[in-house]
């Protein structure tokens, strides 16, 4: 009960700071605001100086950012802050926690990379790294070793990859014989594995929350449009054919949200459970956007209308953090094994 109330408070605060009628707010101003609001402390463990709140709190923020097409890189930021707090080997951990909760940004990749290396010299690419231009470090979560890599170090190249999605910025971070700094190793062995799993789980969950927030806004905007747009001497929303279309979307979103908030209260949810949710939520978002454009008619195809902003973000969400094929296969395998 207590947790539910706290979550509502977060929704309210986030709506105030990032109202859904000011879509795609300025990124740098958003980042400042986000730090001031203390949201980076939310999921940081209490013994690391954070609030130690559950996944539902972070999800509330990501949900609201999805609603407003937030541009600040909260998905990697909240996850890396948590990981830094939970790191077992990081030198100057307290200093790191202080810095990353007050504005320094550590990013990480939202798609699987291919970084390998002999000894401590690493090579390969980390794809889909959000907002590397404003980050000091990227967190490298390799099996067996989690570490921070300074983005201005020799052997590290950062390249922006222009996206269809106008509300986000992604970069490739390429390592070419980069030598790890022992002081920046966060964990090794089983501890690194646990840290990595936790980091990924947080981000995948965040993408699900972002998607359902976005789905809500675009449905609301579409319903509003159909209420005001008149054809055949009546609001289009009066046609039952269109009412049913919108009602179907509402059913999809409402039901998916039930799963989101229920999994949010389940701290021991497995990767398959989170991944299955992510696959579903992002697919719901994508479909709501596909319908929204259709329901707007020609105007939905214009740049000045909001529809495409949501549609492009939804399509990106589908691909980030592992796509539906990957997660659904895992869910299927685990369900099969569980039914043995």
């Amino acid at each position: 009960m207590g947790a539910v109330i706290e979550r509502q408070e977060l929704h309210d605060a986030a709506q105030k700071a990032f109202p859904a009628d000011a879509l795609k707010p300025n990124r740098d101003e958003s980042w400042k605001l986000v730090t001031e609001m203390g949201w980076l402390m939310l999921s940081l463990a209490e013994d690391a100086g954070g609030l130690g709140l559950g996944r539902d709190s972070a999800a509330a923020i990501h949900y609201e950012m999805g609603k407003a097409l937030g541009t600040a890189p909260l998905i990697p930021a909240m996850a890396t802050v948590q990981a830094i707090g939970a790191a077992t080997d990081l030198a100057d951990q307290a200093g790191w926690i202080e810095r990353v909760t007050t504005g320094e940004f550590v990013t990480t990749n939202l798609s699987a990379g291919d970084v390998t290396g002999d000894g401590d010299a690493l090579s390969g690419t980390l794809p889909a790294v959000p907002d590397a231009d404003m980050a000091s470090h990227v967190m490298l979560a390799n099996p067996g070793r989690a570490a921070l890599v300074p983005l201005d170090a020799p052997g590290v190249t950062v390249t922006e990859r222009p996206l269809w999605d106008e509300s986000r910025r992604l970069f490739d971070v390429t390592l070419d014989g980069y030598v790890l700094d022992p002081a920046l190793v966060m964990a090794t062995g089983a501890a690194a594995e646990a840290l990595t799993r936790r980091l990924k789980g947080e981000m995948i969950f965040a993408l699900a929350a972002d998607s359902l927030g976005g789905a809500n806004t675009i449905l609301d905007l579409t319903v509003e449009y159909l209420k005001t747009r008149k054809q055949f001497d009546r609001p289009l929303g009066m046609f039952q054919a269109l009412q049913h279309r919108c009602a179907d979307l509402k059913v999809l979103i409402g039901a998916a949200e039930a799963l989101l908030w229920s999994r949010a209260m389940q701290p021991d949810a497995t990767m398959a459970e989170i991944g299955g949710l992510k696959a579903h939520a992002t697919e719901v978002y994508r479909w709501v956007c596909e319908e929204a454009i259709q329901l707007h008619g020609g105007v939905g195809l214009t740049e000045e209308m909001y529809c495409h902003l949501f549609m492009k973000r939804a399509n990106l969400n589908v691909q980030l953090g592992g796509n539906a094929d990957l997660w659904r296969e895992l869910v299927g395998r685990e369900a099969l094994a569980a039914a043995e």
């Binding site: 794809p127 992604l170 054809q231 259709q294 939905g300 195809l301 214009t302 495409h308 399509n315």
Partner: protein, 393 residues
């Protein structure tokens, strides 16, 4: 039997000509709108000279007088050879032609038809910001002053109006009686004083259609097609002028582009992924369905059979298949497809999957939306009761 031989002969003729003359690098040459327009103009002139541009025009025109069966052969071969579609001249050779041919005066025909073959292009100025699906509610106002109409208002979504020489314009000449009764059909020179064209920025980074603003534009009464107030009938008589050829051609092209999905499957090493193969198999069958219904519709037309709603079934089947084709590409293409890539103008199956997805809406929204087609199927084909016209709160 001999008719079949004739068709076979035509097919080999067209095929041989296309082999020798088809533009091979048109996709690479269609990366910008200006280049695309140039490619289109060149290709149209080549087809006109070869006698394959206007097979549906009467026999007195070069390459005209072809039966629908012959037209089908020509379109099949052009699609098979993967040549550019005639997009820029589409409104000119179909809508403008049909309007003039069926409802125009001999003077109008003699004036405009030869110019179309010389490359004059037309756009369609029907839709308005507040008259989309409900086209009959259009408001663009024309007032008769002596022997001119003075036109004021706005048109929107006019495909390639920024490149057009002339416009098929629907205007309101009276607001008495039923909405349809006050509509008049005019032919407008796009260079007339008072005409402003503003291209519309589209979500795929393209500018395929435009707004047209009309500010005291004077159009001579001699440029009217049909009587004053008969514009609705003229528009309806000519809207269906392309008779299903376009959708047949597009279905063939889409079916022919299934290799793009196969290529993605191989590129990602998913040849042995049974789930992916099943999805691909499902799509290929869906493409076959779309091709079959488009083909059947045209075959029936050749035999003189057409039922109410038939065309709507063809359109909605094609449109959904086109959407699903792009969606499977998007899914299999993965994160790579979320990065912006150059677009190719004038093609719906380009393998730039986000752009293809966005372009697929042209077929669910334009030319009577998917929803409007369903209404036609429900009312005209299934005989379901119509929604009441007026409404009270």
């Amino acid at each position: 039997m001999s008719e079949q031989t004739d068709l076979d002969q035509l097919r080999s003729q067209v095929r041989a000509w296309l082999d020798a003359n088809k533009p091979r690098d048109w996709r690479a040459l269609s990366r910008t709108q200006d280049d695309f327009v140039k490619t289109q103009r060149d290709w149209f002139q080549k087809l006109v000279k070869a006698g394959y541009a206007i097979p549906h025009w009467p026999a007195k025109w070069p390459g005209g007088g072809r039966s629908l069966a012959e037209q089908k052969v020509i379109y099949e071969e052009i699609a098979r050879a993967d040549c550019p579609r005639l997009l820029l001249s589409f409104v000119s050779t179909y809508h403008a032609f049909a309007t003039l041919h069926e409802c125009g005066t001999p003077e109008q025909q003699d004036h405009y038809l030869p110019r179309i073959l010389e490359g004059e292009t037309w756009c369609q100025g029907f839709s308005e910001p507040n008259a989309g699906s409900d086209l009959a509610s259009l408001k663009c106002k024309a007032e008769r002053k002596g022997d001119v109409y003075v036109v004021n208002g706005q048109k929107i979504w006019s495909t390639m109006a920024q490149f057009a020489d002339r416009c098929l314009l629907l205007v309101r000449t009276s607001s008495d009686g039923p909405k349809q009764a006050g509509i008049t059909y005019l032919l407008m020179d796009m260079k007339s004083p008072g005409v402003t064209v503003r291209p519309i920025h589209q979500i795929q980074g393209d500018e395929e259609f435009a707004e047209i603003f009309l500010d005291n534009v004077e159009i001579p009464v001699s440029e009217r097609v049909g009587e004053e107030g008969a514009g609705w009938a003229v528009a309806n008589a000519t809207l269906a002028s392309e008779r299903g050829l376009t959708l047949m051609e597009l279905s063939y092209r889409m079916r022919g582009a299934a290799w793009r999905i196969a290529e993605l499957i191989r590129k990602n090493g998913r040849e042995e992924d049974a789930g992916v193969l099943r999805d691909f198999g499902k799509l290929v069958t869906q493409l076959d369905v779309a091709t079959a219904i488009a083909d059947q519709f045209l075959e029936n037309r050749i035999k003189g059979i057409e039922g109410a709603g038939d065309a709507s079934i063809v359109k909605n089947t094609y449109a959904r298949a086109l959407r699903d084709y792009s969606l499977l590409g998007l899914r299999l293409g993965g994160l790579d497809e979320q990065y912006v890539k150059p677009i190719t103008f004038g093609d719906l199956n380009t393998g730039n999957w986000m752009a293809d997805f966005m372009n697929s809406y042209a077929w669910t929204i334009a030319g009577g939306s998917d929803e409007v087609q369903r209404k036609i199927i429900a009312e005209k084909m299934l005989g379901m009761p119509k929604e009441p016209k007026g409404w009270v709160l």
